[in-house]
Amino acid sequence: MYPELQGDLLEEFLLNVEEFGHVKARWIYRQEVLKMIRPSIVKALKKTTNSTFFGMLQINIKLAFRSLLKQKLYTAINIGGLAMSIAVSTLILLYVQSETTYDSYHPNKDRLYRLAVDRTYPDHVSQYARTPVSMAEQAAIDFPEIETYSKIFLNNGGVNVTYDNETFLENNFIAADRNFFEVFGVNLINGKRNEVFSVQNAAILSENAAVRYFGDDDPIGKILRSDLGDLIVTGVAENTPKNTHFKFDVMVDFEILDLGYLQKPNFLNFGVFNYLLLKEGVDVDVVNKKFDQLVENYAAGEIERRLRMSFADYKASGNGYNYYLQPVQDIHLNSHLEGEFQVNGNLTYIYIFSAIAVFIIILAVVNFINLATARSTERAKEVGIRKVMGSLKKQLVGQFLAESIFVTVSSTIIGLVAAYLLLPTFNNFADKTIIFQDFISLSTLVLFGLFAVLLGLFAGLYPAFFLSSFQPVAILKGRIIRGKKGQWIRNGLVVFQFLISIVLVCSTLIVGQQMKYMQNRNLGFDRENVIVLQRTAGIKDLETFKTEVKRIPGVSSIGGSSALPGSSELFFGSAFQVTGATESISLNCMVVEDEFLHTMNMNLTSGRFFSKDFEDSLSLILNESAARSLGIMNDPIGQLVMNNQDSGNPEGDKVYRVVGVVKDFNYKSLHNEITPLVIFNNERYLSGSLANLVIKADIRESSNIIRSVENLWLAQAPDQTLIYSFLDQNLSQLYATEKKSGDLFLVFTGIAILIACIGLFGLATFVIGSRVKEIAVRKVLGASTKRVLILLMHDFNRLVLIAIILSVPLVIWFMSGWLEGFAYRIQIGQTWTSFIAGGLIALAIAWVTVSYHSIKAALANPVKNLRSE
């Protein structure tokens, strides 16, 4: 209100009192005031309040800035901690976003499904991502709900492709149906959709591959030489996006492949990836229910022909096929079947990481609250003076909130910049190609701004009300704020922070324990000192090659096989029947040379290995599980086993003799149980499929050995790429997801601990700051420095101990769930060392953090602290 007007009113009132008396003067006054309510005055009034609001805001920001500058250490801790947690959370957000948007580039992504199967065997269940060739095709004919289908075949081990004397091993070499481009969201850049498959040996390249082979030249019509014969480039497609469950560099027509039994129309061999595009509005469950009938109609006959038993009997003996459709967008996070395109992500980790992101933010907010209240002793006087000078509580709250919003907004800006700068490192670390610019848009920036302001409000609320509620008289008299009321809140916050840190530490340690267990577990064969050569089928004279390799110094033995431990897609299935038994069961198979089992140092439980001294083309070695499955565990050696062949196979059934039983070895990853395995020595089986050589060699000589092997290889197979690897590394590759997540976990744990330490540091400042006089009195009365130190540490120990106790059940609950993902795992009881280590780490960190303040307080000269009394 205008002071002049008020003054005028009052002056007039006094005149009126003299003239008319009190009553009338008052009446006039009221009337005058009421008459003032007219637009011109009211409007002007509004304008003035606005300007003071902005003025206050300006002043608040200025004050916030000043008080933050005054306390540089606290400001640095506050903004630094918050910025760090925002940076980390942003990175996690980016990671989660990239993981959850897999396969969203297909135009009909909501209707596109992949066929998968749970194959039940009498003694176990296997889940396969690959299904028989004819399934999708037949389903598309029989089911009206299906619009179209497509199938993809991935050539494991890759294909050599040569152009202009340059050979590349194409690992992402796929064969697909001709309607590939109608089903999937891959667009052609060069070439026409209906023409790219017009020739038999057409090849469609990805943009990357086209540039690799032809540079700037037009690739269309060029001829590539490959293991599959000459290929004519008919089209170039855009690169498959990074977040896709399958990718390709070279695609050929499914028909030109020579895959033998896998390619022939069949309903039994799990060989290709089948995709179905459902019609709009179709319920996927309806389709899922129909696959049973499809199996009855088509697969049953094939089984009966092959095994000579009725399908009903077959099912009764515990066999079954449960086909189902997986939404294509769920594959990356939810599908962990055998024979996937690549190691998929894990939904659990997405949840865990998101939770960690939230927790890290909460930890930082807790810090903020703790530090702000911790500073109350210092700021109490400020508040007191302000109140004496006439500040309202409202205004003080406004000022503190402005301060906290200032902190959160600047932290958010710093955090985002840090996230941007750290992203390349993070990409490298997490094996991602996330681009920051994709993520930043006006709406995300607005969201971040909003988030920062809300965070500031939220974090500042408690300190603001706590600080502004001080009684000025009490403060200015010099009484120290005890803040007993807020004690449990502050302690609770610190316990919460340590709880989270300890849970993370223990979990990280347990992950480490499991990883170590997997690395050290006796798998049943030697994984160290084994060099693996893949794709050896291109060697013209394998025998000579092997003898030459054996002569290299450091090499002790060499053996070929069709499959390797760890690469479960290379094992094939076949049906077996013990003579005299009525049941036939399907078992995994591999074919090996005489020396393979010896080279791998596998253990026999009975019988013998294959050997040059015997004619072993009709001999079998079983693993223990297979012997158990066939029911011949007690007396396996010499048993005759019939291998049921496909009725199309001209050779018909063959009878093999079991010559040995090998101790179960983990030929799949440790996520899966060991399943029955049959090992052949049949030379005929070997032809073409013997693709791997294992070399037992002294690993210290490895660089020399590999150089020599390379020379031998060049002489024998000049247009083939030599692919060598070390078995132990290949095997650890199986746990790449766990390893990666474990590493990320470790980083997050470090950050969480750091943030918790900041919080504890703040609490220590507060608690010890308010006990300075008590300590001084104790020292005057004769307490030793050590004694005081123990007293001070005691409080913090208690908090950390509570956190440790609370964390144990959480970790047990949480980590047993994680460990259940492994068939071979440490028992949760074995992890007690992790708990002790985690607890001790937490305690040690707490001590280090608190010791600065404690020691300073305990050593302080009591005179200094008592003088002011």
Partner: protein
């Protein structure tokens, strides 16, 4: 421009301020109007007129001294600007013009009612 037109009430206020010389503030202006013009006005109406005049640039104001009678609030003193005086002259001229045109003796016989 919203208008430099001088309303009748505004003209009176201007004249009053001029006549009050350097003692023209809210209370005195109002009293003068009530006494000399014999017209009851509200403070709000006066204030509005003063704001308008100030907007038009006919008067300026400045804060003066405070006084215990006013609850310690300051007075706001008004002075007429040259522009204000010019506007008053303008208004007077117009009136004088018309007065000059009226025949001096044209008096209407009749009764004042």
């Amino acid at each position: 421009m919203k208008g430099t037109h001088l309303g009748e009430f505004q003209e009176i206020v201007l004249l009053v301020i001029l006549s009050l010389d350097d003692n023209a503030y809210g209370v005195t202006i109002k009293q003068e109007i009530m006494e000399k013009v014999n017209r009851g006005i509200s403070r709000g109406a006066l204030h509005t007129a003063l704001t308008r005049l100030e907007e038009k640039g006919f008067i300026t104001s400045e804060q003066g001294e405070s006084h215990p009678d006013r609850g310690g609030r300051k007075k706001r003193y008004y002075t007429v600007t040259n522009r204000g005086i010019a506007a008053l002259h303008g208004a007077k001229e117009i009136r004088d013009q018309f007065w000059g045109k009226i025949p001096r003796l044209k008096l209407h016989p009749g009764y004042d009612s």
